[in-house]
């Protein structure tokens, strides 16, 4: 057969067709027909044998999964049919698959375990995609499961069929299409191993409906068998000894060193190792957005949040450093700004578990590939103990810079311009009134930056934020997962009115499943960060950044969620305490100043020395 673009199809001869079934009479044709029929009638037999869907549930239990965020649909129904037989796995019925994916993400970030979400084929699968992308960019261990149409219907544009495997291929660490139930035990064992090992990330498993229904005796592999089946996955955990020695020499020589701590420190659970290392070497620690919590912020050597909306003092320290010891971070453009003017005096030691991150964004002098915890523990005995007095001048200067920058951007009174409620004050009060002992989940935009800067983080994995993909609508569903993962502490979702309106359907999930998330809605009736950019970079052309919203208190109450409201600084503490007193989820509607900006700010493409610290009235 030859096909050429632009030729019109020849009309068939009138008497040629007797059947409308393609390749009628072949086994393939009858398989297709059978599968189509099975999509309509497949009643569950009373006494059943072990099928693919059972294998999925067994695998989840074997992997220690205690909660599954999911939404049913046609082809995933065989799994729902058996789910009730496995009470070990708590099923949370989300109201949209994206909410399920973010919930699995939030669960994974606070527990360090693999989060699991699930949806059906077609739209169910594509709705998961934003959540999978969020997990990829932030290296969050996740397994996303989708159903697909029966194997023989793949490629026929069946109802709710989409090439989800092709869609998730570039946005997962690995993905699978399973058409045979006998493959399920191996695939699930591999998927969880890949998701959590080395640099974590999302893995997607697409399972055809017939594989879910197929009888199978396939046994779950041992860890050794599973690893033997993955010859192409051998992450380097231990660093090269020679490189460590060179790094130790760099550290010994440095007069103005700074540690840059990222998400990798948290993934490696290396927070204690980081503090021990910083204390022995007396090096101040700056952190990235996802590195929040790698060192308690009240620690003497914690210097603060770096980057585009980071503290000015932190960026000054980086710009004047003679050595950057970067660990578990990837020199994202939000961290470096213009690389040409980034840390011009510094030599760079870069530690990361992913060799592809080293030399990707900045050229570095000392590359070290390894797990953050193992590298820090190996390096600790190789570095000399430094007495704080040796760095007295350096520390005095850093302390002066810090005093200066904090006093210029902080609204301790809670009021901004004519007594309007300032967002930084709200966030800091939430931090204080929760004793800095809660999980704080950010959305994206100004609220995210206020949260990162003013909460005062003391504990690892207490800050959850969509840093890489910057997914608006992340906070409420992610907080849902975080609250289930860490029920021992309060969970706060801090969101703007824009992001909140993207996923507010999950309020019903919070209420229905009694998930005690406290939502702090910072409502400036704007897309605040967009408005800020338009004010500063686009000459005040405020197109589409005004965002009228509903009466959020009524909205919450319609879902059965107690709502509180604060419009001025003096109402903030009462509102927070009232929400804390609710046994279950609650929402606080903070009506904050509409035009407050977050400063300092580094315009995109500029360098860390080009911070904008204020605008117009200089009282931001």
């Amino acid at each position: 057969m030859t096909m050429t673009k632009g030729e019109s199809a020849k009309p068939p001869s009138p008497s040629a067709r007797r059947s409308h079934v393609p390749s009628d009479g072949t086994t393939h044709a009858s398989a297709v027909e059978g599968a189509r029929r099975a999509m309509l009638d497949d009643a569950r037999p009373r006494r059943r044998t072990r099928i693919g869907a059972d294998v999925v549930c067994e695998a989840l239990i074997r992997q220690g999964v205690d909660v599954l965020f999911s939404y049913p649909g046609g082809v995933i129904l065989p799994l729902y049919d058996v789910l009730g037989d496995y009470p070990e796995v708590r099923h949370i019925l989300v109201r949209h698959e994206q909410g399920g994916a973010h919930a699995a993400d939030g669960y994974a970030r606070v527990t360090g375990k693999v989060g699991v979400c699930m949806g059906t084929s077609g739209p169910g699968a594509t709705n998961l995609v934003t959540g999978i992308g969020t997990a990829l960019l932030d290296s969050v261990p996740m397994v996303a499961i989708t159903g697909n149409v029966p194997g023989v219907l793949i490629g026929k544009d069946a109802f709710q069929e989409i090439d989800i495997n092709g869609i998730t291929l570039p946005m997962t660490k690995h993905n699978y299409l399973v058409r045979d139930a006998d493959d399920l035990p191996r695939v699930f064992a591999e998927a969880f191993h890949i998701a959590r090992t080395g640099r974590p990330g999302p893995v997607h498993i697409d399972i055809t409906k017939d594989a879910l229904q197929q009888e199978t005796n396939a046994q779950h592999p041992t860890d050794e068998q599973m690893i033997a089946g993955l010859p192409g996955f051998r992450p380097n955990l231990d660093a090269n000894g020679r490189q460590l020695k060179i790094a130790a020499q760099e550290i010994a020589r440095a007069k103005r060193p700074v540690i840059l701590a990222g998400h990798g420190v948290l993934h490696a659970e290396a927070w204690d190792d980081l503090v021990a290392f910083a204390e022995k070497t007396q090096i101040p620690v700056a952190h990235t957005l996802l590195g929040v919590g790698a060192i308690p912020e009240d620690h003497l050597l914690s210097y603060g949040y770096m980057g585009m909306h980071g503290w000015k003092h932190v960026n000054r320290a980086i710009q004047s450093a003679d050595l950057l010891f970067a660990i578990g971070m990837r020199f994202d453009d939000r961290v470096t700004g213009n690389v040409r003017t980034y840390a011009p005096y510094a030599r760079i030691v870069h530690v990361d578990i992913d060799p592809a991150e080293i030399g990707k964004n900045v050229a570095v002098e000392v590359p070290i590939v390894g797990d953050a915890g193992r590298v820090l523990r190996a390096l600790l005995p190789m570095v000399a103990a430094v007495d704080p007095s040796e760095r007295a001048d350096y520390f005095a200067e850093l302390a002066e810079w810090r005093r200066e920058s904090e006093s210029s951007s902080w609204h301790g009174s809670g009021a901004w311009r004519d007594g309007l409620l300032s967002a930084d004050y709200v966030v800091s009060r939430i931090g204080e009134l929760t004793d800095h002992h809660a999980t704080y989940v950010a959305d994206v935009g100004q609220n995210q930056m206020w949260l990162a800067r003013y909460t005062g983080f003391r504990e690892p994995n207490s800050h959850v934020s969509s840093g890489g993909l910057g997914t608006m609508g992340f906070s409420v569903p992610a907080a849902m997962g975080a609250a289930l993962g860490r029920p021992d502490r309060e969970t706060w979702a801090i969101t703007g009115d824009g992001g909140f309106q993207m996923t507010s359907q999950e309020l019903m999930t919070l209420v229905a499943d009694r998930i005690p998330v406290k939502i702090a809605l910072l409502d400036n009736k704007k897309l605040g960060m967009i408005r800020q950019w338009q004010e500063i970079i686009y000459a005040g052309n405020y197109h589409s950044s005004n965002l009228p919203g509903p009466d959020f208190a009524k909205l919450a109450e319609a879902y059965g969620l107690p709502a509180f409201r604060a419009q001025s600084p003096d109402q903030v503490d009462d509102a927070i305490r009232s929400a804390q007193a609710v046994d279950g989820p609650a929402l606080i509607w903070f009506e904050i100043a509409e035009e407050q900006n977050i400063f300092p700010m580094m315009p995109a493409g500029k360098g860390l020395s080009d911070l904008i610290e204020n605008w117009e009235g200089a009282d931001e």
Binding site: N165, G166, L169, P170, K173, H174, L177, I194, L230, P231, G232, F233, R234, N236, K255, R256, K312, N315, R316, Q319, S320, D322, V339, R340, T341, Y342, A343, P344, Y345, D354, P355, A356, G359, K360, N361, V362, A363, E397, W401, I536, I537, P600, P603, S609, D610, L611, I612, E613, N614, W615, E616, A618
Partner: protein
């Protein structure tokens, strides 16, 4: 405070912003960006698991990471379930190293090696359907033979020549017969193997 974003808030490059002993007027040198070296053709050899979709994974990754593949040849190896890819692409050493590292992240990729700077044998095969009339057929066949190729099909008005060799040898032949008229041309892209007794297939992943 000014409202000019270009000057507002700029940290002065004074003593407070520079290491000890650096004078206030000193302008620090620009940090070198990764890469920026000489752009040339590189050859990567990837040993991969022969699984469904592995070619798609490699191609998708190269596209998503902004690398441009010149040619890509895939085949089985002597080991069951293992395939070999020869990828040629243009870029500087750092960019191609980044491409290799990204490839290495794929679970189905066992080994990646940049053989550009090593002594290698790199050949491709071309089939060329050349216009050949009764008048000049003998002449075309002579050219094919001189180019160490062979004629694999003869028809009225044309013939198919098969030539193998390095990229430039094939280029030269194609240039030579173009004057007679090329009706169809297909090239496999280079397959490359390093000289010497070392085997990339035997070296397993670290």
């Amino acid at each position: 405070m000014t409202a000019d974003p270009s000057s507002n808030g700029r940290t002065p490059a004074g003593p407070a912003g520079s290491p000890e002993g650096v004078p206030a007027h000193h302008v620090p040198p620009a940090r070198a960006l990764p890469g920026g070296g000489e752009i040339r053709r590189h050859t990567l050899i990837a040993i991969v698991l022969d699984k469904p979709g592995v070619l798609n994974r490699v191609a998708s990754l190269m596209r998503a990471r902004n690398f441009n593949i010149d040619s890509l040849a895939v085949s089985h190896t002597d080991q069951p379930d293992i395939s070999r890819m020869t990828i040629t692409l243009r870029g500087d050493d750092v960019a191609v190293e980044q491409a290799a590292k990204q490839l290495y992240r794929l679970i189905d990729v066992l080994k990646v090696q940049d053989v550009t700077s090593e002594p290698t044998i790199g050949h491709e095969l071309a089939l060329v359907k050349v216009r050949a009339t009764d008048a000049n057929r003998a002449e075309v066949i002579k050219l094919v033979e001189l180019s160490k190729g062979r004629v694999v099909d003869l028809a009225a008005g044309s013939l198919i020549a098969e030539v193998t060799g390095t990229e430039s040898e094939v280029d030269a032949f194609v240039g030579l017969v173009r004057t007679y008229g090329i009706r169809e041309l297909v090239r496999t892209g280079a397959v490359v193997m390093a000289r010497g007794s070392n085997s990339i297939e035997e070296a397993t992943k670290r």
